[in-house]
Symmetry: C2
Subunit: 444 residues, 2 copies
């Protein structure tokens, strides 16, 4: 049931969109990620597009040009769904074979030598002239906790004697998040306010968050869902996934510490979350699979969380970079500075395990639902995906090249996340930047 | 900013729908709750209705009859919104003054002596011939933990030395829930399966839940929301609430015990939740306000959680009854047996405090969002809103009148919840039954 490599993955493919062939582009013809956009500042309705080089192929314009007419009924069904509304939910509700047929059509149309080039050139919009909206109506958002390195590091801060709880290696720990406050890259949001309890006080205080942090995550956009009461078998799980995005799950650490017992994070996480403009499909990521193993000393996964395919490469090798651009850096024209570099393959639980676990009790997933990986920290200090880890719980500040220091995020800071897969002999494919900027707290 | 009593609350009002005037009806003319229905087994689209006696006023049919034409622009706007689609979200997005105008129009139309009686008789559908759908598209579902009696009882089971955590009396504890698996009364769902860890074992096992429980809650349907980054002031909070429903937040206690640390309940709660078919508006509940106080020995609420109106009657006096009908009882024609009787006024935090807290950090609420009160247990043993409490953590079985015993819910059991407000000199207004039945687990 796993997507095979096919002609759309061919490293030799080149596009007539010249910028797609430049080394270092996130969007060569082997990628073809989906997003929702319109021309910046226009009153146009948002619509689906596919990133190619520094351009966006406007799917509605492409469809109306007639370019998709020769590809048969399945592709027709897919392009009708992709252009039906202002989000990708109708396309997500279709199945993996249909998505694959549309990808092949897009690859064919955008290749060097396509007879449709002149027809499609007018359906291109420069990315620099576009603004994005959420690619899907997100019915429910679930956040997991898949990095054992992150769970251990955080656990040490809260429970020095017992960092990793006994369930961690058995259960893909997850919790429900807030969908209303998820926005696409470019989000600007006010520093949250709330109750916190200073360690020196017996009673809480009220005011702006003082320990504002980001979390570097991968997001999983669900495709076709399951009926309530049914479970998605792990062998089928990936075929229910439309694709992956990047996700910054903003966190108010001081609010979290005071509120989270016994039912988990609430206001600490629901004021903002930011995702990448582009969803990279599972099919595009197929050449970048990584080995997934479980140490012999660890519990092996229960049957519903295990499969031969998982063992043969259930992880994805996606590099994950976090950068910071402070207000001073922005004003001085200084480029963002890297804070960390990690990799999705270091997660303890894979995408297919998350889907199988989420549904095993009968919970229904719907097309457009978003699953977060949880903070992806790797085994090394420089791969930690949050400031809480990089600053040892807020105890060691980070020195920036311009002389500034940071422990947590300050007003005016922009956090930028990037993710890409690349391997010898294969092109780099990426997600585009996730950028979000923190504004001062509202006046109290 | 609080709804005043007005002519729609007049105890002397009677309806030309005769069943609305019978003592003990949940739906006298002073109630007028909203739901979404269609004729049972029909292929009709679901549409909005108002319960009156044992009938439903089909709002679309009533609107098309022209009965609303004399009420002016605000009522016109409200009835257009109420009949625009297959859920109440468009009506919920309007403001409290508009809801109030529509209520007055409905009250006028349904009163004894209304000139519109003959016009509206054909817009009535017997409740016995109707089936319901969710009244709103629920964007996000949040569950709180407002009963200090419940929190203390549960805390004793998990932490005998430290039942109530230090944050409880300061923070209205809440967490995000799952919206996809919420359904209306009549829901039948499979017993969930999942990982649990028996106390006698070092490692978890996989199989059907053995400690399936209900939770008696009140649900809060949000009206007009707030922009992200803004907060809803507690003085304005109730005007953002469309109304209340009853909510059964089904819980797999054994799954919960193993999975819930450190991020809260997940699969233990997301397999099913059941709500009442009817939403009773805040305006209808206005005569049934109850005093809200805070013991002098307890921390007083922070400013954002306090107001003069809260102190003057921020709670609602709504009785809450849980009944059980086992398969054997159903087959023998035995009526459901009461398990508990509690009251919403015993909650530690009020509706307006939940709305103010939810938004204080900038989280945006949207019309149609659902907030749950958390299990509403009162101060006495017989007012406990879950089996976990009624059976002392599963240690003492409950004897039913037909000789059966229960510790937790068994396959084929139907749990029924009822809620109503009544006071000397005021009519009883209610929510209708919430019934849901547990089916055997899927085969593994």
């Amino acid at each position: 049931m796993r997507i095979s490599l096919n002609e759309t993955h061919d490293v030799a493919l080149r596009s007539w969109v010249a910028s797609a062939n430049l080394a270092g582009s996130d969007f060569p013809i082997q990628n073809l990620p989906y997003g929702v956009f319109r021309c910046k500042g226009s009153g146009e309705s948002f619509r689906a597009g596919v990133a190619i080089g520094d351009q966006i192929l406007d799917l509605r314009a492409a469809f109306e040009s007639g370019a998709f007419s020769g590809f048969g009924e399945v592709v027709h069904q897919a392009i009708v769904a992709a252009t039906a509304g202002s989000n990708l939910n109708p396309l997500m509700e279709l199945d993996a074979a249909t998505w694959s047929a549309l990808r092949l059509a897009l690859s064919t149309l955008l290749r060097d030598g396509s007879v449709h080039q002149s027809q499609l050139e007018s359906a291109l919009v420069p990315q620099a002239e576009a603004e994005h909206a959420l690619p899907a109506q997100i019915g429910d958002y679930t956040d997991f906790y898949t990095s054992i390195h992150h769970a251990t590091a955080i656990g040490k801060l809260f429970r020095p004697d017992n960092p990793l709880l006994p369930n961690y290696k058995w259960v893909p720990i997850g919790y429900h998040g807030r969908s209303s406050s998820i926005a696409v890259s470019g989000q600007q949001f006010r520093r949250p306010v709330g109750q916190t309890k200073p360690p020196t006080s017996d009673t809480p205080v009220f005011g702006p968050c003082k320990r504002l942090d980001y979390e570097m995550e991968v997001g999983v956009f669900m495709g076709q869902g399951n009926a309530i009461g049914d479970a998605i078998d792990i062998g089928q799980a990936e075929s229910h996934v439309f694709g992956l995005c990047l996700l910054n799950d903003w966190s108010a650490r001081d609010v979290q510490a005071w509120e989270y017992q016994p039912l988990g994070p609430f206001l600490a996480k629901n004021f903002a979350s930011t995702i990448s403009p582009w969803i990279v499909t599972i099919e595009a990521l197929a050449p970048y699979r990584a080995t997934w193993t479980r140490d012999a000393a660890d519990p092996q996964p229960m049957a519903y969380l295990d499969s031969a395919e998982l063992r043969a490469g259930g992880a994805f090798d996606v590099q994950l970079e976090v950068l910071l651009q402070t207000k001073a850096m922005r004003e001085a024209g200084t480029a963002p500075q890297r804070l960390s570099l990690g990799n999705f393959k270091d997660a303890y639980w894979t995408v297919s395990q998350l889907v199988a676990h989420h549904t095993v009790g009968g919970c229904n997933l719907r097309a457009g639902d978003l699953l977060g990986s949880g903070t992806l920290s790797g085994p090394t200090p420089e791969s930690a995906g949050s400031l809480l880890e990089l600053t040892a719980g807020g105890k060691q500040s980070i020195s920036l090249a311009n002389g500034e220091k940071r422990i947590f995020i300050e007003d005016g800071d922009t956090v930028i996340m990037r993710g890409w897969a690349e391997r010898d002999g294969l092109p780099r494919i990426g997600f585009g930047d996730v950028a979000a900027t923190v504004l001062p707290a509202r006046s109290l």
